[in-house]
Structures are given as structure tokens and as C-alpha cells.
């Protein structure tokens, strides 16, 4: 398979700031360059596109090249040689520019896969005009390494498959190709809905894991102990998640903290300790009771901006009802795009 990786990975961040070798093990180069090495070692024809030679030490570049990876500073050259173009670049404007460049050069039925914490659906929305007008054959997927490549924790990939909505951004064949690439490197591969991948892969999984355990705790207490109707419990969960999400969107974490008032939240949450064993709540209370001065400064700095506590699915249904499915889909897509612009 022909694979191109974009972005070698910031070794200064990995080695000097995050101290990965001491804390997690593995050896540099980490990140995109390590992914390129692993693909080449699995027998693939690999390009690594990195315009900034300073990202890696000379000895690390030698490891990359000795593995059989072709290094280039030319994004177009790498795209021309890619069945799968893997973006190991920070999510943002620069990545979108590279992705747009790739769409001009990647061979027919090529795949552009992102690796970072934002959904491949968002990448699709950003590239939508190019993809729908000029390159309907290109598939958008994700190959989340779900840990820093090069560390022993990187034992699996999270691949964005068909989305939970009707929008398919890659064919089954293209999704399977990503799976084959991951497995050829000896990694486990998990296919999840494309729009869910960012929540269960990489840094998003931190928020998801803590939130999910809280949701399960409340669901158990609500349905099994209080014996409230399931629908009511689910609505309360939904209301809480929406409140947090909407406040973070409008006011940032600081504003959300100010609105939530951790001191008050601790008192209220303690009254929900209805069982002997509620480990998730114990852990959460323990954390919240020990918030340091830094967090208190965040609260002080916070401003609560005007916020619509929107039930997203209900709003989407209302839009569909008012303006029809296609116009509503367009509106939803533009909102998604705006969130990341």
C-alpha cells in the first residue's frame, strides 16, 4: 500500500516537555515519523511530508530514512504517492490547507485520514466543496493512534467508519483499507462511527471516560435505586450534558466553572450519595474538594456569556421540519464548520 504521513511530530514537545521516554517509555522519534517508520517496516511504500527539518534531530531523520521512508518537503509530491494520506498535523487552519492541497493530487479513490482529536466529519465539512465538486472519489476517514506513536501505549488505532447520521464520508472499501493498514503494523483496530471517533480516541477519551462513568452511576441510581422511569433519568442526564456543553461552547471552561460553582456542586452531589459504593462520585468529590488555587483563579477569570441551552437533536428535528431536510443539513454542517474555524 502507498501511504503518506504529513507531519513528523514535535520531538521537543514529546521528549523535553512531556518527557515521554522517562514517563511512558519508547524511543524517539515519536509521532508522525514513528507512524511512517512502522508503516514502512510493515512493507508499505511510505512518504513523510515535513517541511521543517528542525522537527527531528539528524539521528532521528536517519532512523526514518533507514526504515525506507521517503522524506519530502513537498506536500503535493507526497499526495501523488498516497493511497492513504495520514494527517499528523495539529488540527486547525494549516491542516485544512494541507488537506485541500492533497485533494488536488491524491490518486483516484484515495483516502485522507486525520489523527487528531476532532471528528473526521469536521474535516469533511471543511473540504466539502472540493470533495463534492471535484473529487467525489476521495474518502475521509480517521486513523487515531489513540496514544503517542512510539510509546508502548500505542497498541491500537481508532478508525472512523460510517457515521451515525446518513452522511457517509468514505466507502466500505476505503474504511477496510484503513483497517488493513493498522493491522499490518500489528495494531488492534477499532472501527467506530466517524462522528464518535474523536470522543473515544486520543485526548477526547479523557473527558468521555470520566463522563461515561458518571452517566452510568446516575443511570444505575436513577433506574435501580430510585426506580424512576428510564426516560426521565435519560432526560436528566441529557439536560446536564447539554448544560455543560453549551456553557463550554459559549463561555469556555472558565465561564462554565463560574456558572457551575464547584463549591455548590460538591454540596449538591454529596446528597446524591445514596449507596455504600459509588466510586465514581467519591472520586469526583475527592477531586472537586481539592481544587487548587489555580482553578480558583480560573473561576474568578470566568465570564458567563449568553448561552442557549439547546437540545441539539430536538433543534435539528425542528430545522428539518421548518426548512426541509436538505436545507437543515446544510445549516447543521455550517454550524459544525464554524465551531472549528
Amino acid at each position: 500500500m502507498k501511504v503518506s504521513v504529513y507531519g513528523a511530530g514535535n520531538q521537543d514537545l514529546y521528549v523535553n516537555q512531556l518527557k515521554l521516554p522517562e514517563k511512558y517509555g519508547g524511543v524517539p522519534p515519536y509521532g508522525g515519523s514513528r507512524m511512517a517508520i512502522e508503516y514502512a517496516q510493515a512493507g508499505h511504500e511510505v512518504y513523510l511530508a515535513e517541511p521543517n527539518r528542525a522537527m527531528l534531530e539528524d539521528e532521528h531523520w536517519k532512523i526514518v530514512e533507514d526504515a525506507g521512508v521517503t522524506v519530502t518537503a513537498d506536500d503535493a509530491e507526497a499526495a501523488k504517492n498516497a493511497e492513504i494520506a495520514v494527517l499528523f498535523t495539529p488540527f486547525g487552519k494549516k491542516t485544512f490547507e494541507i488537506a485541500k492541497e492533497i485533494t488536488k493530487h491524491i490518486p483516484e479513490n484515495g483516502i485522507i485520514a486525520n489523527t487528531c482529536t476532532v471528528s473526521p466529519i469536521v474535516l469533511y465539512y471543511v473540504l466539502e466543496r472540493e470533495l463534492r465538486r471535484d473529487r467525489k472519489d476521495i474518502g475521509i476517514a480517521s486513523l487515531h493512534p489513540a496514544a503517542v506513536p512510539g510509546t508502548p501505549q500505542h497498541g491500537h488505532y481508532v478508525i472512523g467508519g460510517h457515521s451515525s447520521s446518513d452522511l457517509d464520508i468514505a466507502t466500505e472499501e476505503q474504511i477496510q483499507k484503513c483497517l488493513q493498514l493498522a493491522e499490518s503494523c500489528g495494531k488492534d483496530a477499532y472501527i467506530v462511527p466517524a462522528d464518535v471517533s474523536s470522543a473515544v480516541a486520543d485526548m477526547g477519551s479523557l473527558v468521555t471516560a470520566v463522563t461515561l462513568s458518571g452517566v452510568l452511576d446516575y443511570y444505575f441510581v436513577g433506574t435501580q435505586i430510585i426506580k424512576a422511569p428510564e426516560e426521565m433519568v435519560e432526560k436528566q442526564i441529557l439536560m446536564t450534558l447539554q448544560t455543560i456543553a453549551s456553557l463550554v461552547e459559549s463561555s469556555g471552561v472558565n465561564g462554565m466553572l463560574k456558572a457551575m460553582n464547584p463549591e455548590l456542586l460538591i454540596k449538591s452531589a454529596k446528597s446524591m450519595h445514596l449507596l455504600e459504593e459509588q466510586e465514581e462520585l467519591d472520586a469526583a468529590l475527592n477531586t472537586l474538594e481539592r481544587l487548587d488555587d489555580k482553578v480558583k483563579t480560573w473561576v474568578e477569570k470566568g465570564t458567563i456569556q449568553p448561552t442557549n441551552l439547546v437540545a441539539a437533536q430536538a433543534l435539528a428535528k425542528e430545522l428539518q421540519n421548518l426548512m426541509g431536510e436538505t436545507a437543515a443539513e446544510g445549516t447543521i454542517r455550517r454550524c459544525m464548520r464554524k465551531m472549528f474555524e
Binding site: L322, M323, A327, A328, T331
Partner: protein, 115 residues
């Protein structure tokens, strides 16, 4: 080809700009003055046309053919082109009959090009 259709429409007296947008608001082709945000107009056209389509359905007037927004300083006309919407931005004083005939003709051609 679509650009040609818009250029031809632009030659009609009183027409100041035109766009072809997908029903979802994505710009397919645009010929609008630089002081108009074509992305925004495309999104608004999709929302207006979609809402008008739904209204026509509810009032049992479907299928919707045209929408006109009439302002003191100009008009915006929209016509169904199956996969897309043809949008025309005009002066106030225009030969509405002539423009409607030309828009229908252009929409026919667009239907073939967009499918």
C-alpha cells in the same frame, strides 16, 4: 457552463448578481458584487427556499416554483433547479415578466447540468 448561464443572466437590464446554490446552501457558482457575502447569501437562500418549500407543502401548494423577496431597494428571486436553486439579485424596477421567463429557461438548463 453554469458560469456561462450566470453571465448571460447578468446581461439583463437590472440584474446585479446571481448564484447557483445547492439545496443545502453550498455555492455551486457565483456572480455577485464584491460587497455581498456570497457564502452567507447562499446559506440564506437555502434556508428561505427550504422554508418556502415546506410552507407550500403544508398549504398543499407544492411543488414550489419561485420565491421573491421584495425590498425597497431591490428584489431577490429564486427558482427551483432540482438539485439546486438559481438566485437572482435585481434592482427594484425590472421587467419581472421577462426575468421570470429567462430564469425558467436557465433553470431548465441547470437541471440538466446539476444532475
Amino acid at each position: 457552463m453554469i458560469a456561462r448561464i450566470l453571465k448571460d443572466l447578468g446581461r439583463i437590464n437590472g440584474v446585479n448578481g446571481s448564484l447557483v446554490v445547492g439545496k443545502d446552501g453550498l455555492i455551486i457558482e457565483t456572480e455577485v458584487p464584491s460587497d455581498i457575502d456570497s457564502e452567507l447569501v447562499a446559506a440564506m437562500s437555502s434556508a428561505v427556499f427550504g422554508t418556502a418549500e415546506r410552507s407550500a407543502e403544508e398549504m398543499k401548494h407544492e411543488p414550489l416554483e419561485q420565491v421573491m423577496i421584495e425590498g425597497n431597494r431591490g428584489k431577490t428571486l429564486m427558482i427551483d433547479a432540482q438539485e439546486g436553486i438559481l438566485v437572482l439579485i435585481t434592482d427594484v424596477d425590472i421587467n419581472l415578466g421577462l426575468i421570470r421567463i429567462e430564469m425558467r429557461r436557465s433553470a431548465e438548463r441547470l437541471r440538466d447540468l446539476l444532475t
